[in-house]
């Protein structure tokens, strides 16, 4: 049995690359930083593929069950004998899959960025942060215990902050990065409390011990009741709040559309393919606990996911900024993944939801990254983000056009592209377990097709907009990732995912349920044709000419941002921060000032002792001597 200890190289080499580019990047030519980053990613991708091959095909299985393998687990902090925090690598079907996803998308983004970010100042800084982000994300997915997950969770948040605020001279970018960090940090408070409760009940942080279905942890927690839920449910619910923050579920979704202020390849990497799926990944990682100890929370997760995906899909139908549409689409698709997890049960046959959620994560990362990189290519050509400035681009950007079309077909769920397979399995799982969620997701599938093709037709067909300079196709460094990802979006649907990734490691066979698939394809085609009818020809519908109030509300994203601003500014600042600031300024500062002026006052009064008058000194001396004399006489005579 070969050991997987070579996997330690993957995070280490990324961290070293971050240090090298970060520290020495200013002194080298910028292109060297790009090359170092890309070569590092190339190696890590290669190592991930080797790990995946070895795990899934050669060594991972024991008695037909995929094992969780731990090549490394070193003790990092030891608080007491029972509270030990370790850092290590855990290889299990979902972590190996995530390794493949993260490194592939990151490699594509690196290659793309060499072309896209050419000429930007801060080029080295960009690649350093990209390496840091990839390192943190990989650290998150291979974590062996929940505390390590938390550490890397925060690191991912910090890297995301650094990358969103990359154009730090723009105030909107700075505001967006702050918003992202604060919202996710706020959600992480729930996460931390959940971790503390969980480890207090079960006595361990380690994933293998926690998620063992026959183990102590799962059976233990259901005893104590708090607010009508068992304490285990409370802990898992709080952990889910952390996931909701990171994965942009309602009402913590507000940071993701604003995070589009970062450079487009960053959006592709972080906000489409990797960071936002961290929440889904964590729920999947703790899935046995959710399914067996807190099924009510799991159902709640399903409903949250469904509501969010519907909500985001409706908003996406009215937006005009390309990247915002894609951001809302991401929120919607993550909602799909959470719905799939929500309807799933534990145990291989019943866990179609689990498998399909992970499958959708895999395919979504490919085609969403492709969509973002394609959008970057369009923006690069047209120098504007807004759909109103674009049109008829299919004759100027042929490669981008074809790859974008493939991605749109994939996300809409048209066979034989990958999105069809994954979405179909989700809908089957929903159909079998919770009909209401199935209906909602069915409608969302139709809306997805509609708004994606609205985007496609407005950009590539529609009218011939007047361009100041002729839009030109992107350079080869930007086209190569597009082509690779397009091939991936087309082909990966045929991977028999259920053989590899299930909730308990035992593979099962899944097949297409045509009774669900055909209506899905039908509604997708309906969406496409509606979009074609409205947007293919020259039309003014894009500008929101029918601005009745419903349209306005949806266009303004249901005014959720304004509600948040109101709460923070009027309520929290005025009622809480202002009194505290008053207290600090008036009372605490004045106390310090008072002590200082008291000292001044006393010294002012005492300084007349040093008058320079000889006779006064002599007088004091004589008096002192007399006093001492008196004391000596009376004390020594006792």
């Amino acid at each position: 049995m070969e050991s997987f200890s070579f996997t330690i190289i993957i995070p280490v080499i990324l961290f070293v690359s971050f240090l090298v580019i970060g520290l020495a990047g200013g002194k080298m030519k910028p292109i060297i930083s790009g090359i170092i980053g890309t070569i590092t990613l190339f190696f890590t991708t290669l190592l991930s593929y080797i790990t995946a091959y070895l795990y899934f095909f050669d060594f991972g299985k024991l008695n037909n069950v995929y094992q969780k393998i731990i090549p490394f687990n070193i003790e990092w902090l030891r608080f007491t004998d029972s509270l030990i925090i370790k850092m290590g690598i855990l290889l299990d079907p979902i972590s190996v899959m995530m390794l493949v996803v993260i490194t592939t998308v990151s490699l594509m983004v690196h290659i793309y960025s060499i072309g896209y970010m050419k000429g930007e100042k801060g080029f080295s800084r960009y690649f350093a942060f990209l390496s840091l982000f990839t390192f943190s994300m990989i650290g998150l997915v291979i974590a062996t215990n929940i505390f390590q997950t938390y550490v890397f969770w925060e690191l991912v948040g910090a890297s995301s902050y650094l990358l969103i605020g990359y154009y730090f001279e723009k105030p909107s970018a700075v505001a967006a990065s702050k918003k992202a960090f604060i919202v996710t940090r706020f959600a992480d408070l729930g996460f931390l409390i959940g971790i503390l409760i969980l480890s207090n009940i079960t006595g361990t942080f380690d994933f293998i011990l926690l998620t063992d279905p026959n183990g102590v942890a799962i059976s233990q927690g259901s005893s104590i009741i708090f607010v009508g839920l068992s304490s285990m449910s409370c802990a898992l619910f709080l952990i889910f709040i952390g996931c909701a923050g990171k994965s942009a579920m309602f009402p913590l979704h507000i940071w993701l559309p604003d995070a589009m202020e970062g450079p487009t390849p960053v959006s592709a990497l972080i906000h489409a393919a990797t960071m936002v799926v961290a929440g889904v990944y964590l729920v999947a990682r703790l899935f046995p606990m959710y399914a067996l100890s807190a099924p009510a929370v799991l159902e709640f997760i399903g409903y949250v996911g469904a509501f969010t995906s519907l909500f985001a899909a409706i908003i996406a139908c009215t937006q005009t900024d390309i990247k915002r549409i894609l951001a809302f689409s991401t929120i919607s698709q993550i909602g799909f993944m959470l719905v799939a997890l929500g309807v799933s049960k534990y145990g291989s046959e019943n866990s179609l939801g689990f498998t399909s959620s992970m499958f959708h994560l895999f395919t979504h990362s490919m085609f969403k990254a492709l969509l973002f990189l394609g959008a970057g290519s369009i923006i690069h050509a047209v120098h504007s983000n807004d759909m109103k400035d674009m049109g008829g681009l299919k004759k100027y950007l042929p490669v981008t056009h074809i790859t974008f079309l493939i991605a749109c077909l994939a996300i809409a769920g048209i066979p034989p592209f990958s999105g069809f397979f994954s979405k179909d399995e989700i809908l089957v799982a929903a159909f079998e377990n919770n009909f209401a969620l199935f209906i909602i997701q069915y409608i969302v599938a139709g809306l997805t097709a509609f708004y994606m093709f609205r985007l496609y037709f407005s950009v590539f067909w529609n009218k011939n907009a007047e361009y100041k300079s002729q839009p030109h196709e992107s350079p080869k460094s930007m086209l190569l990732p597009l082509i690779f990802l397009a091939i991936a979006s087309a082909v990966t649907g045929f991977i028999p995912f259920s053989k590899f990734i299930t909730s308990d490691g035992i593979s099962f066979d899944s097949h297409i349920h045509w009774s669900v698939a055909i209506p899905t394809i039908a509604i997708a085609l309906a969406g496409i044709f509606t979009a074609m009818y409205f947007y293919k020809k020259d039309s003014e519908r894009l500008s929101g000419a029918n601005s009745n109030s419903i349209y306005k509300i949806i266009y303004n994203k249901f005014y959720i941002d304004e509600v948040y601003l109101f709460i923070t500014k009027k309520i929290i600042f005025n009622l809480i921060s202002v009194p505290i600031a008053w207290f600090d300024k008036k009372i605490i500062d004045n106390t310090m000032n008072g002590i200082a002026s008291l000292t001044n006052f006393i010294s002012d009064k005492i300084k007349s002792f040093q008058s320079g008058q000889l006779q006064q000194y002599a007088y004091v001396m004589v008096s002192g001597m007399i006093v001492i004399l008196l004391l000596a006489l009376y004390l020594f005579n006792q």
């Binding site: 006779q615 007088y619 004589v622 008096s623 001597m625 007399i626 004399l629 008196l630 006489l633």
Partner: protein, 168 residues
Amino acid sequence: MEQIIFLILSVIIIVFSVLTVTSRKILRAAVYLLFVLIGSAGLFFMLNFNFLAAVQLTVYAGGIIVLIIFSIMLTSQLNDKLESAGLKKSVFSLIAVSAGAIICLSVIMNYNFPKASGLQPDSSMRNIGLQLLGYKENGYVLPFEVISILLLASMVGSIIIARREKVK
């Protein structure tokens, strides 16, 4: 007989010392000091310390008082009337001084001084001279030499300090 002389001498000393510190004219204060010193020399004569009394008269009364009078003249204050000290200062000093005096006097009166043995020392000039330069037991050659160096240093020092600034 002795007692009468002692009484006269002590009255002279005390009265003139009080006058010294309270006189308004500076030259008169110097003269009163002279009388105090002469009275003190008389006390020494009475105690049969002749050499010391002679030295007191020569150095103290003759040298130092003359020096003081010279300095009074050099700082041209002969005819100025000295101001008396402020009320607050004199009252406070009076309180402190009288307190000290009372304490010391009470200690002195209450202490039993041991009786002396009555041996007479040899206080002739020859003996004193031998003892001053003697280096055996009861010899004072070391303080003698030190004092001579001190006198030299003070001579040089006072000349330098009081030198008139060179006009450039």
